[in-house]
Symmetry: D3
Subunit: 163 residues, 6 copies
């Protein structure tokens, strides 16, 4: 039967032992979106401000958050990541900023949580910078779209196009 490995046989939380795992290259890609009013999106894209500055701040926030994932997620292993990037695209028709993060490490455990955390904090940063004009924004669809490396091998989320 499936079981939650972050709980010991008595059900207590623990950080599972990954000491016996191989050090391999591991990559994770996650995605998220921020939904907003079209005029908010327009403002972020070009409304009188240098192109990209909201996005630029959100990118830095996401990358920095990836590095601190182990401090935020209680049972997540700390690990020195070897690469991190966060990219953005605009869906004007849908009123959405689309976010994709990619994080790598050479280590004993994966970087799924780092990629998901990068997307989440990048999205929250966009919310923070635009909330004075639109409190109704929604951060959503935070999901793992691909991971490679480690014993469980490659995972690609069904229905997701990814390089």
């Amino acid at each position: 039967m499936a079981e939650l490995t972050h709980l010991d046989p008595r059900g207590n939380a623990r950080m599972v032992d990954v000491g016996a795992k191989q050090e391999t290259e591991r990559v994770a890609i996650a995605r998220a979106e921020v939904r907003m009013r079209p005029e908010t999106l327009a403002l972020i894209q070009s409304g009188g401000v240098p192109k990209g500055d909201v996005i630029g701040v959100a990118r830095v926030a996401g990358i920095m958050a990836a590095k601190r994932t182990g401090e935020l997620i209680p049972l997540c292993h700390p690990l020195p990541i070897t690469q991190a990037s966060v990219d953005f695209a605009f869906d004007e028709a849908g009123g959405r900023v689309l976010i994709e993060s990619r994080v790598s490490t050479v280590g004993r455990t994966g970087v799924e949580m780092e990629a998901l955390t990068a997307c989440s904090v990048a999205a929250l940063t966009i919310y923070d910078m635009a909330k004075a004009v639109d409190k109704g924004m929604v951060v959503g669809e935070i999901r793992l779209v691909k991971k490679t490396g480690g014993k469980s091998g490659t995972y690609v989320r069904p229905g997701e196009e990814v390089e």
Copy 2:
């Protein structure tokens, strides 16, 4: 015209000056959800483990993250919060864990970001603890549902039931 207050007139990022604002009590309530397969939800709820432990860890993670919001969100003002709680409910039919956070302060600026961050990190913690059995979970609908206090007064998200 609406403008992004976190950018100065030349479009550069800044932490806006709240020094002249009044210290008032401010409360923010945010919500989020984690969507998953029914069997994953069942496992979190009772699958051979003491009731509530996954949820208990996620609650602590959310509360602790609320305190560190200012470190994560680049232009967010640091402030000493006076209250924080995170609650959970289960939607078995929809395969969802529902999350609600509530954060308060007595300060010069609101705690919307703290409430949103608490929800996000609580949701990511659930993902982390259950990802070995279900990589397809999605964190979504992270949104502000209510805020009180401050010059802009009370905001209630349309369509949202909240005390």
Copy 3:
């Protein structure tokens, strides 16, 4: 009946609401000790090293830890402390380093945890710096000896001499 205020009526952890409390000056004094072999104590006191350097590092560690208490203790309120000091004495006969911390704030909640954390981390730092010569050291008797300020008023630990 006495109850644990850090748990809500359903028993869930929460950071209690201190928003309605008065901002008053609050002081807390805590003590701890590190027990060790006499020769370890002698080495810390003067064994070929400039007097006070182990102690100097432990003092800095304790003061810095006091500032980060809210990050370490999950339900502890973050607050800007206004004063912190850590002092040390040597009990050669008993093979003990005695530690006393004193922390103040002007705030809505006390600084007991800050004072206790300062003592704990100062003690652990002594352990770290001397462990190569004495792994058997024991950190003990970490306790609050006095607090003033706040609605509950002054507390002095029975049997404890304190200014």
Copy 4:
């Protein structure tokens, strides 16, 4: 003659060089206790609250603190731990909560400080959550009970039963 390796020949603090050490699996086990009034212990164990929630929060706090040891202890090497757990037992007769932490890494230096820090912060968290009913609690007997791995090999504290 024995010497304090964390001080250079002139007595100045330094982080010693472990670059030439082997990467081996290293485990450390530490213990501590929180002494309290019997009624406080009873309240933590079952006093109208879901069994284990105080303990659950303390466990999470200890595990998270283990990951941040290098930030707290000035000369302690930062390292990515591969496993961490904190367990609790109740000594009703003696009015004590007993704490045991176990931390592992694959690295160039040991995890004694991580295990001791986990115990300390778990104990302080219990103090924090119960201090409203019992300010007289004492955290004590924080000690290393076992370590394995590294050049100095296995250490077991005399008189201590450990697996």
Copy 5:
């Protein structure tokens, strides 16, 4: 005689007591520079990259560092800052990036260290981003140019033009 207030009468480090000071608005402005080869400066300014991105990252880094000053500087009081900005100018003739930070709070102690830390980290970030092409860059002239508020009143560094 002048004395170092961060040392007690016995010369031990301490965080001085500011609890009795008035809460007033306090502002500090600091400046720094990064000296580099002209071609490095040209590359930062426009060398095939979107104008401002190195500078944009350095700005975010400086603002975020200001918020964490109390964690870095051992005896510095933690305080919730109410405003922070970092600006940059280019001195092509001199091969310099000029940095100016401005930080405010309403509190019991000044924000000089926050302003100086913001400049320092912004400068180091420029170094980091350009070091692959120019390891010889020098960060210098980090200085306080103005402070207002508090009992000691206004300070303007002689010879410095400042608004």
Copy 6:
């Protein structure tokens, strides 16, 4: 043509991928200075205070900052350092405290930023502790003087004497 590796082909910030680099021993040495009035320097050196305490606190601050470099510098890779030390010398004639840091790791990327950050924070700590008597101090000449290890090999700053 030279290019800034921390920006992707579209000019967006990223943490570059070092996953394919070799793990080798890497060392970096950096230097800085704090310029001040002669009487301030005299006070730091011996003015009625135990010799070395300002310096002792600055040393600890620098070593601790080295460990947190990856949190401060947005695109800097986090890595577990294996050694860190900070040394000081006095130039009475020039009214300067001279600082030298040395940091090592066994890793996929260098520790230049760690060494530079250690120097910067040590210098800022001196400023903090002496600012009550001399606000005019200047931190300057923060520079890399030597690095070894990695694909780019050894770098020694021209005109710099270094072991």
